[in-house]
């Protein structure tokens, strides 16, 4: 009931959206290794390699699955990236080769060590901490497609509760990893989403890749994230980021314009959209974040998410690039009947303009029309 505009291309209530990359995630083999911060003289400490696969019980596997979907699933801060480095030494090549190691754990372990060594070599400044590297293979999507991911988890201290002889005790653990604290892990994932696509000119055809790194959602920390997504994983932000940002703006505006909400609320949401896109401190745009921050009711949130999915807007985050949307953000315009309109710079609109729907004077049939009361917190400067 919240939308009914023509952009919706729904064929049925549910369709298998190509963006649902992380549904039906099944974790296969798991191995961990350890890497370290650079020495004082900036020389590298050799990684400590694990030699055997990790066996987890069902509950632990579920928890690991949740870490991945929380980071990369729909509504997450994960970003779909493009593969730039597909050379023989690339992370992608190691992931690709892991697909051929089904049933050969020794090869899987060796390739996971290659991946770990590459991450260790990518950490070229002393500010970058060490951590545990978890390499996982498995399948994702429906139908299930091969999937490989590398997680860098930074250990952090914490406590666990223990009980001895009926006494409750606290035990201090110096090195917890993979707790739900998202700032402390990064993930790069490769999915062979479309094995039918084969292109000798472009070996990565049919592959999708996703990145989660708390640093890339923050604009001012993008440089700090570079070693992981670029040097290590060989990824770049997709070239269509500017187009996607514009698409986000267009679709969200369409949704707000047709939503079943009162005009004041509509005005507030249009202001919020501009503010969200222009906010300096964030480097990604995400449907879920806009929804959770501004839309308020669960019904409106679901209607919006559904609308964006129907229009095939990415369910993960996208890299913010304002170059194409900038003109649209320059002017806020409200149009009335009889050729009357009001325009204002968006950054002034929220603070200085207030619009309210009010009851007008009844006509001869007793019908009360809706009028609009506009308050501009300024005097008239000029009239034409």
């Amino acid at each position: 009931m919240y939308f009914g505009c023509a952009i919706s291309v729904a064929q049925g209530s549910i369709k298998t959206n190509r963006t649902m990359a992380f549904e039906n995630l099944t974790i296969g083999r798991i191995i961990i290794h350890e890497i370290f911060r650079l020495n004082e003289d900036r020389t590298m400490v050799d990684p400590h390699y694990g030699n055997g696969l990790i066996q987890l019980d069902a509950e632990a596997k579920d928890a690991l699955q949740k870490r991945i979907t929380e980071a990369l699933g729909s509504s997450s801060h994960g970003v779909e990236m493009s593969i730039q480095d597909s050379g023989a030494q690339s992370a992608w090549m190691a992931a690709r080769n892991i697909l051929d190691t089904a049933g050969n754990n020794a090869q899987f372990i060796a390739l996971s060590q290659t991946i770990t060594a590459k991450l260790a070599a990518s950490q070229t400044t002393k500010v970058v901490p060490g951590g545990i590297v978890v390499v996982i293979d498995g399948t994702a999507g429906h139908p299930a497609r091969p999937f490989v991911c590398a997680i860098k988890a930074e250990p952090h201290p914490g406590f666990i509760k223990k009980e001895e002889n009926g006494q409750l005790l606290l035990e201090y653990l110096k090195e917890l990893i993979l707790t739900p604290e998202a700032k402390l892990y990064k993930i790069g994932a490769f999915i062979h989403a479309d094995p039918a696509q084969v292109d000798p000119q472009q070996p990565t055809a049919g592959w999708r890749t996703f990145l989660f790194d708390d640093l890339i959602t923050k604009g001012n920390r993008l440089g700090a994230a570079h070693y992981f997504y670029s040097t290590f994983l060989g990824l770049v932000f997709p070239s269509n980021s500017a187009f996607q940002t514009k698409e986000f703006h267009t679709l969200t505006k369409t949704f707000i314009k047709s939503a079943n909400i009162d005009e004041e609320r509509r005005s507030d949401l249009l202001n919020a959209l501009t503010a969200y896109l222009k906010a300096d401190q964030i480097a990604t745009i995400q449907v879920g974040v806009f929804s959770d921050t501004y839309l308020g009711t669960p019904e409106l949130k679901d209607a919006y998410t559904h609308f964006m999915e129907q229009n095939e807007f990415p369910v993960q985050a996208i890299h913010k690039d304002l170059s194409e949307v900038a003109p649209a953000l320059k002017k806020r315009k409200i149009t009335f009947g009889h050729n009357i309109s009001l325009t204002a710079p968006p950054e002034e609109f929220e603070g200085l303009v207030r619009i309210q729907a009010i009851d007008g004077d009844a006509d001869e049939h007793g019908q009360v029309p809706k009028w609009t009361q506009i308050t501009i917190r300024d005097r008239i400067r000029e009239q034409e």
Binding site: G12, S13, I14, K15, T16, M20, A21, F22, E23, N24, L25, A58, E59, D62, Q65, K66, T69, E70, A71, G73, S74, S75, S76, A140, G141, H142, A144, P180, G288, S291, D292, P298, E299, K301, D302, T305, H306
Partner: protein, 329 residues
């Protein structure tokens, strides 16, 4: 018949009557169990059924002194008896049906000795003891617990509501069996209670019927989910209360009958049944059919289902994760 003769026969046949009453109790319980599922017998029967043999002295007192029977031993129909106490008058009918069915199966002859509904019509101005009494007489050839049940052995089965039972408990041995007659005011008070009980039983009946009607759409949705669950997992769906709690809170988010959207969704996402099967042993939540509604709502109305979810959030988080969705805010 002499007292000594009567007692000797009774003492000799007690084990047979004990077996006979146990046989009846067992058969009626079995019949009810099948009739009332998924409601449990413990819930349906409000006072545990305990077959009782008449005490020797009571037997002599009633058979030879209080009553004038032609055949004191055979005519005394309550040498052994048992009582079914239930909540509603419709529940009484259910027990009656099971007893009549037992007659149909050739276990016994059943005759209604007292029928409060008939008594109400016969004596419309009177409010007194109300209960259904059956006398069951054994058919030939019954063997139970190694005992050969004598053909024609009688057993009295009483069936009443909790409120009728309360009235009977109050009046037992005080109004009808005292040496001196109770005062008219006391009788009047007890009659008023019975009138109130009869009215209350009717209100109970109406309340349950109205509740049942209101719960019908939810029940139909649950039945639909249970069937899908069984077809998809080949495992019998759980019937715990959590299903009802989720249906109650999420009903407005679910599609209308015939729920085609849910069916289509599960067809499109066949892997959901595999995920459920993987978790059956470790997580109770996945043994209940409500899990299918959780998946459907997580896909179609994620913010709303998170908002109203009445059960453990960890399980719902896993449902989101299986669909590749972030759960935490």
């Amino acid at each position: 018949m002499k007292e000594a003769e009567l007692l000797a026969r009774w003492r000799a046949e007690k084990p047979l009557y004990e077996a006979w009453s146990d046989f009846i109790s067992q058969k009626v319980h079995e019949g009810l169990h099948a009739c009332i599922a998924p409601v449990s017998l413990d819930y349906f029967i409000k006072v545990p059924v305990k077959p009782r043999l008449k005490a020797d002295s009571t037997l002599v007192d009633k058979a030879l002194h209080r009553k004038k029977y032609a055949n004191p031993y055979e005519d005394l129909t309550d040498k052994v008896g048992m009582r079914f106490v239930v909540l509603l008058t419709t529940d009484i009918k259910t027990v009656c049906e099971v007893i009549e069915a037992g007659a149909g199966q050739g276990f016994w002859e059943a005759s209604k000795d007292r029928d409060y509904e008939k008594e109400r019509l016969d004596k419309p101005l009177e409010f007194s003891y109300q209960s259904v009494h059956y006398v069951l007489r054994a058919k030939a050839g019954l063997i139970h617990q190694g005992a050969q049940i004598p053909e024609g052995a009688a057993c009295e089965v009483q069936i009443r509501t909790l409120l009728q039972h309360a009235h009977s408990e109050l009046t037992h041995d005080t109004i009808y069996k005292p040496k001196t007659t109770a005062q008219p005011e006391v009788k009047r008070t007890v009659a008023k209670s019975m009138a109130l009980i009869e009215a209350t039983d009717e209100f109970f009946e109406k309340a349950i019927k109205d509740l049942d009607e209101a719960a019908r759409p939810g029940r139909e949705l649950l039945a639909f989910l249970a069937k899908l669950y069984e077809n998809g997992t080949k495992v019998a769906p759980g019937q715990e209360l959590s299903n009802q709690i989720v249906i109650d809170t999420c009903f407005n988010l679910a599609p209308q009958a015939p729920y085609k959207e849910i069916d289509d969704f599960l067809q499109a996402k066949g892997f959901i049944f595999d995920k459920i099967k993987e978790r059956l042993t470790a997580r109770h939540f996945f043994t209940q059919p409500l899990v299918l509604l959780a998946y459907y709502l997580a896909q179609t109305k994620p913010a709303q289902v998170k908002d109203v979810w009445p059960l453990d959030r960890d399980d719902l988080a896993l449902v989101f994760s299986d669909l590749g969705k972030k759960f935490e805010d």
